[in-house]
C-alpha cells in the first residue's frame, strides 16, 4: 500500500495512496496548525461542560454555569426595569398636570405611554390611535369625557361603562325607538346635522331637540363633557355623520365600553398612557392652571416610538 514516490514536477513525496491514477502530495502542515485544531477541541469540551449542550428528551443538559437564554432575558429585563426605576418613581411622585413642567419627564412618560399603548390600546383605538366608528379617535381635539391630562387619566383608570368599577364614567342615552314617528325622526336628524351646517335648519326638529336632547347635549348641541354628552355641532361623529347613521343613533343608541385599566395596569403606566394620548395633538390644557407655553420638548423618543408602529 505504501507506494510512496517522489513526484517529478514538484519534487515532493506522495503520501502513497493512489486512486485511479490520482495521487496526493505530502505537503506537511505546520505543527502549530495541528495545535490550533486541538485547541478548538479543548474549547468545545470546556463549552460542553459549562453551557447547555447535549439534547435530551425535553431539554438539554444544563451546563455547570447554569446559563440559559431565558435566564439571560429575565436578567436583562430586570436590569432594564432597574434602569427605569428612577424615572418611574419620579413620574409616580409627580401630579399628572405638573408633568408638562418638566419636558424631560414628559418625554419619558410619552415614550413609556407609547409602548404601553401598543400593548393595551391598539386593539380598539388602532395603532395610530385614530379609532374607528364607535371607538374614539384620540388624535383629534374632540373629547367626550374631557381632554386634559387628569381627565384622560381618570378615563383610563376607571374605564367607561365598566361594570366592575363604581367610579367608572357612565351615561346612557335613552332609546327613542317608538317615541318618535318617522317624520319626527327625520326632522330631529335634520336639525342635528344642521348644527354643523350639513343640513338646513328646521323648526320642528329644533323643537324636538330643545325638548328631548338639549338637557344633555346643550341647547346649541355643544355637548357636555362632565357627563359625557358628545358635541353634535362639530365635524366629528363617533358613530358616523350621515343622516341614516344619525337616525340610527337617535332611535337605538349604541354605548361603547372601555375597561377600567386600574384592574390591569399600575398607576404609573396609566399616567404615562394619559401623557401619550394627550400628546397626540388634541390634548387640552387644564383650565385653571393656565400654565405658560410648555418649554421646548425633546420629542425624539416619542416620535421614534410612534414611527415604530
Amino acid at each position: 500500500m505504501a507506494n510512496k514516490r517522489i513526484d517529478q514536477p514538484t519534487g515532493t513525496e506522495t503520501v502513497g495512496h493512489e486512486w485511479d491514477g490520482i495521487e496526493e502530495l505530502n505537503t506537511p502542515l505546520p505543527r502549530w496548525w495541528l495545535w490550533t485544531f486541538y485547541a478548538t477541541i479543548a474549547w468545545a469540551l470546556v463549552y460542553v461542560v459549562l453551557y447547555p449542550a447535549w439534547p435530551l428528551i425535553d431539554k438539554a443538559t444544563d451546563g455547570t454555569l447554569g446559563w440559559s437564554s431565558r435566564g439571560q432575558l429575565a436578567k436583562e429585563m430586570s436590569a432594564a426595569d432597574a434602569a427605569r426605576e428612577g424615572v418611574v418613581r419620579q413620574i409616580a411622585a409627580t401630579d399628572i398636570e405638573q408633568l408638562a413642567a418638566s419636558p424631560e419627564l414628559m418625554g419619558q412618560a410619552i415614550a413609556g405611554g407609547a409602548a404601553a399603548f401598543k400593548v393595551n390600546c391598539v386593539q380598539c383605538h388602532g395603532a395610530g390611535a385614530a379609532g374607528s366608528p364607535g371607538y374614539p379617535n384620540l388624535n383629534d381635539d374632540d373629547w367626550i369625557w374631557g381632554g386634559t391630562l387628569s381627565e384622560i387619566e381618570y378615563t383610563i383608570t376607571h374605564g367607561i361603562r365598566w361594570e366592575g368599577d363604581d367610579a367608572t364614567r357612565a351615561n346612557y342615552m335613552p332609546a327613542f325607538q317608538g317615541m318618535f314617528d318617522a317624520g319626527q325622526v327625520n326632522a330631529l336628524a335634520g336639525h342635528v346635522l344642521s348644527l354643523s351646517g350639513k343640513a338646513k335648519p328646521n323648526a320642528a326638529g329644533a323643537n324636538l331637540f330643545a325638548e328631548n336632547c338639549a338637557a344633555c347635549h346643550g341647547p346649541a348641541g355643544g355637548g357636555m363633557p362632565e357627563m359625557g354628552a358628545p358635541a353634535l355641532n362639530d365635524a366629528i361623529w363617533l358613530f358616523g355623520g350621515t343622516e341614516a347613521e344619525v337616525k340610527k343613533q337617535i332611535l337605538n343608541p349604541r354605548h361603547g365600553v372601555m375597561p377600567a385599566w386600574n384592574e390591569r395596569l399600575d398607576p404609573v403606566t396609566i399616567k404615562m398612557l394619559a401623557a401619550y394620548v394627550h400628546s397626540r395633538g388634541g390634548g387640552q390644557e387644564a383650565a385653571p392652571a393656565a400654565t405658560e407655553t410648555p418649554a421646548p420638548t425633546d420629542v425624539a423618543q416619542a416620535a421614534k416610538a410612534e414611527n415604530d408602529g
Binding site: I6, T10, T12, A235, P294
Partner: protein, 514 residues
C-alpha cells in the same frame, strides 16, 4: 515501506527547481520529516522553525527602516494630535466616536449618513492594493504591512537581546541555563511591552486619548477598552513574536490573491540564474572560470531573509519582496568584484530579455503598463469624486416623514390636520436657528410643533437645533375648513450668514384624497 534512504536520494535529485515545501518557506524536505504523527512512515506535520535573519545594511534595508519609523510613528502618535473644533466637538484630530456616531479626521467630520465616504476610502484602499501590486508587485507585503513592520521590529529585539543570526541559532539549541532563561525573559518582556503599547494605542482612536489614558490606569475605562487592549496585546505578542512569516505563508489571504494578480510583467525580486548558475565557491570558480556563474553560493541571501526563503528557487509565496537579499547579494558582489544586481527587482519578462542578451532594463519601466494606468484611473476617479462630494456637501439637511396612521385628522371645526416627523440636521459645531417654512399650500395653512403649541401656529416656525445634532421635531400642519392641499414642501433655511437651504417634498392628506 519504501527504503527511506532511497527516497531521500531521489528527493534531493528531483526536488531541484520547484521544491514546494521549500517554496512555503519551511525548508523541510521529505527526508527531514521527523517522527510523530506518522502517516505511512512520514509526517504530515512539520515542526516549527524560527527564522533567524542576519543583520544587513543597504539601500533597501534603510528604506525599510524609514517605512517602519514613519508607519509606527503615524500609528502611535496620531491619536495624540489635538485639533480645535470649538466647544461643541471633541478636540482630537483623528477620532472614531462610535458612541456618538461621528468620525473625525482633522477638518473633516463624517456622519453616519455619509458613510459612503468611509466606504469610498475602503474601496480606494482595496483598489490601492491592486494598484500597488500591478505597479510594484508585493511592495505592500515587503514594507508597509503591519505584520511585516511588527515582525521586523520583533526581529530587531531578538538581535538586541540575543545577538545576530549565529548567536541566536546557538542559543536556540543551548540547554536552559540561567542565562538563557534570563535572556528569554527579557526578550519576551520587551515583546509584551511592545504588544501592550500596540493594543493601547489602538483604543486611543476611539475615545479622547488623554482622558482614556487616565481612566485606563485608574481602572475606570469601559470593559471593551480592556478587552480590546488584551486581545491586541495577545495577537501582537503571538503573531509578531512567534508566528511571523507563518502568518504570511499560511494565514494571510492577500499573498494568495496576489498570486492571481502577478504575471510576467510584475515587479518581483528575481535571481538572475542565467548569470548566477552554475553556482560555485570562489575557489572552484578560480580553478575553472568558464564553468561557473556569478553566484558564489555564499547563502547570504538566505541568511538575511526575514521569511527564510531561498530566492534562488524563484518566485514563491514566502517571498514578500522586501529586497534585503538584494542588499546582501550586492554587498557580496562588491566584495568579490562582480557587478551588482545578481538578485534584483525585475520582471520575469525583463529577465528573459536580459538572459537573451538584451541590455538590462531599469526596474522603474515595469511601472509603465496599461494595467497600472487603469487602476490609477479608477482609484483617482473615486478619490476625485469623494473630494468633490466633500467640498460641495451642505451642513444642513431636512427630511420629512408624514404620519401614515392616521394620514390626516379631521378636527371639530372641520379643518384638517396632518402630522409630520421632521429631522433637522445641523452639522456645524455650534447651535443654529433654522427656519422651516411651508411652501405650496393654500393661504391659511399653519404649522406648529409641540414646542410652540397651536396658539402660535404660523406658516413658518423657527427651530433651535443644537450643535452637531439632528433634532427630531413632530410638526402639525393644519388647513382651514374648505381648503384642499396636495403636494407641498417644507423649506429649511439656516438663519446665519451661511443661509444654507434644503427642501423636503411631501404631501398633505385630506379626507377623500388618495
Amino acid at each position: 515501506m519504501a527504503d527511506q534512504k532511497d527516497i531521500e536520494r531521489t528527493g534531493t535529485e528531483a526536488g531541484k527547481p520547484r521544491d514546494w515545501a521549500g517554496a512555503l518557506g519551511s525548508g523541510a524536505t521529505p527526508s527531514a520529516a521527523g517522527a510523530g504523527h506518522g502517516f505511512m512512515g512520514s509526517s504530515l506535520y512539520e515542526k516549527g522553525k524560527t527564522v533567524h535573519n542576519k543583520r544587513i545594511d543597504g539601500p533597501f534595508r534603510r528604506f525599510k527602516w524609514l517605512v517602519m519609523v514613519v508607519t509606527l510613528a503615524i500609528y502611535y502618535i496620531t491619536p495624540w494630535i489635538r485639533w480645535d473644533r470649538g466647544p461643541y466637538a471633541p478636540d482630537q484630530a483623528v477620532l472614531v466616536d462610535l458612541a456618538h456616531r461621528r468620525f473625525y479626521m482633522f477638518d473633516i467630520e463624517i456622519w453616519p449618513h455619509e458613510f459612503y465616504f468611509v466606504a469610498g476610502m475602503l474601496i480606494m484602499a482595496g483598489i490601492g492594493l491592486f494598484l500597488v501590486t500591478s505597479a510594484v508587485g508585493r511592495a505592500w507585503c515587503g514594507y508597509a504591512c503591519p505584520q511585516t513592520v511588527w515582525t521586523d521590529l520583533f526581529q530587531h529585539v531578538d538581535r538586541l537581546i540575543d545577538g545576530d543570526r549565529n548567536a541566536r541559532m546557538r542559543l536556540d539549541k543551548a540547554p536552559w541555563t540561567a542565562s538563557k532563561i534570563a535572556r528569554r525573559t527579557a526578550k519576551w518582556a520587551i515583546y509584551l511591552t511592545i504588544a501592550f503599547w500596540t493594543g493601547g494605542a489602538w483604543i486611543m482612536y476611539f475615545a479622547d486619548a488623554p482622558t482614556l489614558t487616565v481612566n485606563f490606569w485608574a481602572g475606570q475605562a469601559a470593559p471593551v477598552a480592556y478587552a480590546t487592549v488584551a486581545i491586541l496585546t495577545g495577537t501582537t505578542f503571538w503573531l509578531g513574536g512567534f508566528m511571523r512569516e507563518q502568518v504570511c505563508i499560511y494565514m494571510c489571504p492577500w499573498p494568495r490573491i496576489q498570486t492571481a494578480m502577478l504575471d510576467e510583467k510584475s515587479l518581483i525580486v528575481t535571481y538572475k540564474d542565467w548569470r548566477g548558475e552554475q553556482r560555485g565557491s570562489l575557489k572552484k570558480a578560480a580553478k575553472d572560470p568558464e564553468a561557473y556563474g556569478d553566484c558564489i553560493d555564499c547563502l547570504q541571501c538566505v541568511a538575511v531573509c526575514p521569511t527564510g526563503v531561498d530566492i534562488r528557487e524563484g518566485q514563491q509565496i514566502g517571498c514578500i519582496t522586501c529586497g534585503l537579499c538584494i542588499d546582501a547579494c550586492d554587498k557580496v558582489m562588491k566584495e568579490v568584484g562582480r557587478p551588482r544586481g545578481l538578485i534584483d527587482y525585475a520582471t520575469l519578462e525583463q529577465c528573459e530579455a536580459e538572459a537573451a542578451g538584451a541590455p538590462a532594463t531599469p526596474a522603474w519601466k515595469a511601472l509603465l503598463r496599461p494595467r497600472v494606468f487603469v487602476y490609477f484611473g479608477v482609484w483617482g476617479a473615486i478619490g476625485a469624486a469623494l473630494l468633490f462630494a466633500l467640498g460641495t456637501r451642505t451642513h444642513t439637511d431636512l427630511t420629512v416623514s408624514p404620519d401614515r396612521n392616521p394620514p390626516f385628522m379631521l378636527l371639530k371645526d372641520g379643518s384638517v390636520r396632518n402630522a409630520y416627523t421632521l429631522r433637522l440636521r445641523n452639522m456645524e459645531a455650534r447651535p443654529r436657528d433654522m427656519e422651516v417654512a411651508l411652501t405650496g399650500l393654500p393661504a391659511g395653512a399653519v404649522m406648529w410643533t409641540e414646542a410652540v403649541s397651536l396658539e402660535n401656529a404660523a406658516p413658518t416656525q423657527v427651530i433651535k437645533v443644537p450643535a452637531n445634532e439632528t433634532k427630531v421635531v413632530r410638526a402639525y400642519v393644519m388647513l382651514p375648513p374648505g381648503e384642499r392641499g396636495d403636494s407641498f414642501a417644507f423649506r429649511l433655511t439656516s438663519l446665519d450668514e451661511q443661509g444654507e437651504q434644503d427642501v423636503a417634498e411631501t404631501t398633505f392628506a385630506m379626507p377623500g384624497s388618495k
